[in-house]
């Protein structure tokens, strides 16, 4: 294994933090958003510039400072981290554009604060992606929780307040209450928290302890919204839509699952979990979340809440993939991060665009909206297909890999769960599409002539929708990255 030492990961993390003073002290909104764009592009460029090396099987290392004996703040870019960082930094660019349209379209207050904390959140997300050890990851994880709090509560009203409370209590509470002690106990056993392909915990603890730690980690990373710690996610939908889109479909929740997958593969190691036979309970938890989440999504009328429950279910696919402990399963889980990200962000963008254009939040009020906003609703359709896992979209690929993984691991029950949940996905998405395109518009619902949302809203969602399509035929580099890292962690 080749390693390169470079400060690039550090810079990639810091770029958006350094941009904050510039964003904060900008005189006009245009300048402010200019800086945001610039930071986003630089960040993506930095991340992308590391891609070739990673694709060649190298790892990029950057040690910042040793904060505790044997434990430092350090970054390491490997295939899995690269995958996530690529997705997140690319989508930041798109979301920035979308934010401009959305925030200006609705004339929101405190936009400077919004863009500042957005930048902090992105730093934290990339930090999690590139962290070389659990401590660094925890640091950025907490940073993300706190930085997103002002975003979630952006509206500063009573609803935002209760949701913010719930959000913090779940995410920070679980990470302090569960992850921190689990991390310390791990450190006590191993004296080392570095992620290594075969895990560091192997051979140091008994089965009971490992099981306990595993569940402390899985539930502790409450951002992954594994049931029963999921109810913050629908509550957090009070945030402005770009926030929901990027953070709750991409950065925040994906950081949660990313952390879980990282811990399962990097700290515990697939071999040990297999030896202790701990995958079954994990699979059970994930499957439950998938099914229950999908069922609840069926009963939602608020579009964003429905999407939130859909996210809860989809996130557990990723956990499920990792929990199968088979190469295909892990690959599927990892690729699903990318596929779901593009699909779900499209859906959220659409929901936001509808809200900007019409002010409607509920599905029942969207009858016939497809005729008014064809681009948006077409994109919605594509996103929905991707989430369901239907062939023309990228989502099919990840689900297919997951199914293969289930077969590889001889988990017929899981196979059933996957298929059944796809049916459920179709069951809650298709009525929306049907209502939008095939029902006659009730003009009473729309006072004026509703047009497409502003250009800044429509273009981003079109782009992500197109990418969702493209990913089926050309899933690189995500597929390759996922295959590489899955091969490494499963030792095959």
């Amino acid at each position: 294994m080749d390693t390169l030492i470079s400060v690039k990961p550090l810079i990639a993390v810091l770029v958006s933090l350094l941009a904050i003073p510039l964003i904060g002290f900008s005189r006009s909104p245009n300048v402010r958003e200019g800086w945001t764009f610039l930071a986003a592009v630089i960040k993506f460029a930095l991340v992308a510039s590391m891609l070739p090396a990673v694709l060649h099987g190298k790892e990029i290392i950057c040690q910042v400072v040793e904060v505790l004996p044997g434990l430092s703040l350090a970054f390491r870019v490997d295939a899995f981290g690269m995958l996530f960082a690529l997705v997140a930094s690319f989508l930041w660019i798109i979301t920035s554009a979308y934010s401009i349209g959305y925030m200006r379209g609705l004339d929101e207050h405190a936009q400077t604060r919004y863009f500042c904390f957005f930048a902090v959140s992105l730093s934290a997300a990339i930090g999690v992606a590139f962290s070389a050890n659990l401590l660094t990851m925890y640091l950025f994880y907490e940073m993300l929780s706190l930085a997103t709090y002002p975003l979630v509560t952006h509206h500063q009203d009573e609803e935002a307040r209760t949701s913010g409370r719930k959000y913090l209590l779940y995410t920070v509470g679980a990470s302090i209450g569960l992850v921190l002690p689990a991390m310390l106990v791990t450190y006590h056993f191993t004296g080392n928290l570095d992620f290594s392909p075969q895990g560091v915990l192997a051979g140091t603890a008994s089965r009971g302890t490992v099981a306990l730690l595993l569940f402390m980690f899985v539930f502790g990373f409450a951002k992954a919204a594994v049931m029963p710690l999921h109810s913050w996610l629908p509550a957090a939908m009070v945030a402005p839509t770009p926030v929901s889109a990027l953070l709750h479909a991409v950065a925040v929740v994906k950081v949660g699952v990313f952390s879980i997958v990282r811990v399962i593969t990097g700290i515990f190691g697939t071999d040990m979990l297999q030896a202790f036979d701990l995958s079954t309970p994990l699979l059970f938890v994930a499957s439950t979340t998938i099914l229950v989440g999908s069922f609840i999504a069926l009963s939602q009328d608020n579009l964003k809440r429905m999407l939130a429950f859909s996210t809860i279910a989809q996130l557990s696919y990723i956990v499920l993939g990792a929990a199968m402990l088979s190469p295909k399963g892990v690959t599927g889980g990892m690729v699903h991060i990318a596929m779901h990200a593009f699909g779900k962000i499209t859906l959220f963008f659409c929901a936001g665009a509808i809200f900007v254009a019409t002010g409607k939040k509920n599905i029942s009020e969207m009858t016939g909206i497809g005729r008014r906003m064809p681009v948006t609703m077409t994109a919605f359709f594509i996103g929905a297909l991707s989430i369901i896992g239907m062939p023309p979209c990228g989502g099919f690929l990840s689900k297919w890999t997951l199914v293969l993984g289930a077969l590889e691991a001889d988990q017929i029950a899981i196979l059933a769960v996957l298929l059944f949940s796809s049916l459920l996905n179709a069951a809650y998405f298709m009525p929306v599409v049907y209502r939008a395109f095939f029902c006659p518009p009730e003009d009473a619902l729309f006072e004026a002539r509703v047009q497409e949302a502003p250009l800044f809203c429509v273009v981003p969602l079109a782009i992500t929708a197109v990418i969702s399509l493209v990913l089926l035929v050309y899933p690189q580099p995500f597929m390759q990255l996922a295959v590489m890292s899955a091969a490494k962690v499963t030792g095959l």
Binding site: L68, L146, Q156, R165, L180, L184, H188
Partner: protein
Amino acid sequence: MSAHFPGLVIIIPLVAAFLILIGALLDRRLAFPLTALALLGSLLTAIGLLGKVIQTGVVEYHLAGWAPPVGIAYRVDHLNALVLVAVATVAFVNLMGTRELVKGLFEDRLGPFYTLYILLIAGLQGIVVTGDAFNLYVLLEIAALTGYALVGMSEGRAPLSSLNYIFIGTVGASLYLLGVGYLYLVTGTLNMADLAVRLPALYPSKVVVSAFVICLVGLCIKMGFFPMHAWLPNAYSHAPDPVSSLVAPLVTKVMIYVMIRMMLFVFTPAFAFDQMAISEPMVWLAIAAIVAGSFMALSTRRLKRMLTYIIVAEVGYMVGGFWLGNRLGISGAILHIVNDAIMTLCVFLSAAAIISKVGSDAIDDMQGLFKKMPVTMGVFVVAGLSIIGVPPTCGFFSKWYLISGAVAAGQYGFMAALLLSSLINLVLFFRIFEIAYFEPFHDHHGDHGHFVSAVQEAPFEMLVTLVVTAVLLFALGIYAGDIVSQIIDHAIPVGIT
């Protein structure tokens, strides 16, 4: 000159105290610059001393030229050099930050105020460097007396609280003195190093056992450890703001330092941890302190009072960490002395800034402060995060050591208490943030509207010091590893693993 650093670090503020009084008799405006100069000198000396200790190891200084045990000696090792720097930093920073506040509160008695202020610092620094058990008592009293006066000089319930503080403090100090007397009775010496040499032969004696218990009880009273904490919230929350931001970070922490010093370097770990076998009950008391402190903090809606209850819990952190009896736990306790000093300073300073502008310390009156005082509130948030224990602020790292120590010692109860207190701190601080962040968009636009809009940022020097302390919180966090490996590791006796 550097040979005299241990002496100078105390002598500079002490001599300055008298000059300040004389200067202030001439012109009141002289008091502040003189104090600032003296404390800066003391701070620089302390840093120099720390550098010297890191380079060359233990520094001894024989006062009046008499070698111990005949004379009084200062013995500066890594432990006290570190705490010394923390004390000097807090004193200096707080002095700079609270200039305007002090001017407003004590306009007609600036001279006495700064004299008492600097005497308090001289006393605390003396406690930290001294190597003589009785000298420590005298310095303890100097710090205590000046503290009583400063705490009591406010309207409302301050004098009564201060009087209760005197009663409790005097009992604590008397018990300490009695403990030292017991030790003197069986050894005939007062020098700490000499005591440590002569005591092991006497461990079976009941006198040593009672000396140990009496000392410990006395110190626990002075530091406000859980069952004896009742004086602390009253005294600290009713004190004038510039005083509570000085006393709250320093006094309890220095007392914890004294406990560590006595237990490790006078009674030796073998006696304190192994023979006395009180680690277990002490840790349980610490757990009780943490839990009780946290819940009491939840029950109040006054800012300063809440912060003082947090101090009660933090004392539990440090005492519990120390009595875990392993290297990790003790490192955590020592690190937390430094971190908590800065943390408490930061949070009390920002509270002082807020209270002076808002005119009330009720949490409910803090509506809309994020808009009105963004910098102050920003620092307050950083301090809050540090107290909660969010990386990379320093509070996380000391908590890390404490919890690691708890895991290594198998004290899972202590670990649970620390986590619980983190969670409660989270609730406590976000309760405030919520009010400061959400409230103005409610119905307070009417009568309160013009009142709130009169609130504005704290004075410039206050802001600068606030930002400096906030930066310090991060710096201490990032360099926690270095502090531990370069300084604290050498401070703990080798025998402790």
